[in-house]
């Protein structure tokens, strides 16, 4: 069946598969469950006035936490941009034993509770373990330190770039690469000029998703980061601290910053995803 032709001829059927009351029900569910809490969060953040908002957001602890979240998430995005693409390539183009295992491992971060993931990292790199002790001896700490944060983020966001790139890679027409080869292009040049352009939006979309997910990550970091203020305190944990300290307005204010960043990224990611999936009808 020609999917493209079907899309072009898509007329609006008079056969409505869901009557009006279903639409109303769905809207009510989403309105209550999603809009109400988010709106109240935002309102709380600005309730005490612009001065208090600025004070909460520019407090040294907040700024440090936001900065830490940002640069660790950037690192995670870039590293997983590469690794994710490489893994997608291996999954799509190679015929090796162990491929299924890799595919399963890539999906593992989606299935496993983030807290448990954090605990596993501590179990591997914690100060009482062989590996952890060895690294500590050489002046390098993973658990309860910044490298641990990056490691946790790398684990948790592993699937995103892979899942974004895999379908696009799978849909590339091999005839294009063959044409390039017959025209005299070498392997690297073919990669750069023929393969990379179509998959690049997908990689970018995956990286944006990775970044958005990373700044919001909590569970694994609660276990791994050690929560030392100004050093290993990420934004979500800082927000938790403010809540526990009885400062919900400040917590809400910093939340608004994170939310604003995430919301600003969403249309960007959607745009990239559309560009990436453009080949599919």
């Amino acid at each position: 069946m020609n999917a493209v032709a079907t899309k072009l001829v898509r007329t609006r059927p008079r056969v409505d598969t869901a009557p009006l009351w279903i639409r109303a029900g769905v809207t009510a569910w989403i309105a209550l469950l999603v809009i109400a809490p988010v709106v109240s969060l935002v309102l709380k953040g600005v309730a005490a006035g612009p001065a208090a908002f600025w004070h909460a957001v520019s407090a040294r602890g907040a700024v440090d936490a936001l900065w830490l979240s940002t640069w660790t998430s950037l690192i995670a995005s870039v590293v997983n941009g590469f690794m994710g693409s490489a893994i997608a390539w291996a999954l799509v183009r190679w015929d090796v034993p162990g491929r299924r295992l890799l595919a399963a491992l890539v999906d593992l971060p989606l299935a496993i509770p983030t807290l448990v993931a954090g605990i596993l990292i501590i179990a591997l790199f914690g100060p009482q373990t062989a590996l952890g002790g060895f690294l500590h001896h050489h002046g390098f700490d993973v658990a309860f330190a910044r490298p641990g944060i990056v490691l946790a983020l790398l684990f948790v966001t592993l699937p995103f770039v892979v899942r974004a790139v895999e379908p696009v890679l799978a849909e590339l027409d091999p005839a294009e690469e063959e044409a390039a080869l017959t025209l005299g292009s070498g392997r690297w040049l073919t990669f750069r000029k023929v393969l990379l352009p179509p998959i690049f939006p997908a990689i970018a979309a995956g990286m944006v998703q990775t970044f958005a997910r990373s700044i919001a990550e909590f569970g694994s970091l609660a276990a791994v980061s050690g929560n030392i203020p100004f050093k290993t305190l990420v934004a979500p944990v800082y927000i938790l601290g403010q809540v526990e300290a009885g400062e919900p307005e400040a917590a809400a204010a910093v939340s608004i910053v994170l939310l604003a960043v995430a919301l600003a990224l969403q249309p960007f990611a959607a745009f990239l995803a559309r560009r990436a999936g453009g080949r599919r009808g």
Binding site: W29, P37, P113, I119, A222, P248, A262
Partner: protein
């Protein structure tokens, strides 16, 4: 469309590939093994601490909340997917964006939002007071927060399948005299089954693993709002390692089971 042929990679690439797989397996298998060993070593303590009333309550609450999330977000997921994919109306794009909103929020923020909404001066506090239950620091809060974070999964997976399958079969059913319900039950539902099972698996995994939101809105109060995850958190803070390891192992095992099921479902698609 012709798929690119899979190449058997040369020896060098095979080495790299093998290295990646080995590395990841070690990253996961070794700590899992360590976890299993720890549990085995303190087996008696683990059993004792996990069979306490508090542990049972935590597991029970987690399971009940997960079941409710699967059911409610399953129904609303199917309905929502049908509405968003098959209908055109003013505000559809907005509704579509709202469905993704839970994915943009950090779990802590989710918990905070519900605390505010149902807290002392919250907008919906009078409503729940009237209905006679509390949300903040009570199990309904845990439920609501989990419903929030699991909202998108079933909906998105079902929407994906609906888009692929198209509505021609439903049109055919209409010309053959089927009512809307008959069409839904006999034509639409079987076709979205694959999306439904993947979505349900993802929902369950997320519900079991939710931590930040339930910690904030529930407070992790033993025998009241403690879930499996906050149980672990509390256990670590109170230096009750056997309990923490035991519960972590249970969750890890459940996650792996779900993962295998997910892989199986995806292979069938």
């Amino acid at each position: 469309m012709v798929e690119a042929k899979r190449r058997v990679p040369d020896a060098q690439a095979k080495l790299v590939f093998g290295g990646i797989v080995a590395y990841l397996s070690v990253l996961l298998l070794v700590p899992l093994a360590a976890l299993v060993l720890a549990v085995v070593r303190h087996f008696g303590d683990v059993v004792e601490q996990l069979t306490s009333g508090e542990a049972f309550h935590a597991m029970g609450l987690t399971l009940v909340v997960a079941a409710i999330c699967i059911t409610l977000n399953g129904v609303f997921g199917i309905a929502g997917a049908l509405v968003l994919v098959r209908q055109r109306f003013f505000g559809r794009r907005f509704l579509d964006a709202l469905v993704d909103l839970p994915l943009a929020l950090s779990p802590v923020m989710t918990g905070l939002a519900f605390l505010i909404l149902f807290g002392r001066s919250g907008a919906l506090r009078p409503v729940v007071d009237l209905l006679g239950f509390s949300v903040a620091f009570a199990w309904p809060g845990v439920l609501l927060a989990t419903l929030f974070v699991t909202l998108p999964f079933t909906l998105r997976e079902v929407a994906l399948v609906l888009e692929e399958v198209g509505d021609h079969e439903e049109q055919a059913a209409a010309t053959l005299g089927a009512s809307a319900w008959q069409t839904f039950r006999r034509v639409t539902l079987p076709n979205i089954y694959s999306g439904l099972s993947i979505g349900t698996t993802l929902t369950l995994a997320r519900a079991l693993g939710e931590f930040g939101a339930v910690l904030v809105v529930g407070g992790g109060i033993a025998n009241k709002t403690e879930t499996a995850t906050t149980f672990i958190h509390t256990a670590v803070e109170e230096r009750q390692e056997p309990a923490a390891f035991g519960m972590a192992l249970i969750l890890a095992a459940a996650a792996i089971a779900l993962l295998l099921f997910l892989q199986n479902r995806k292979a069938k698609v």
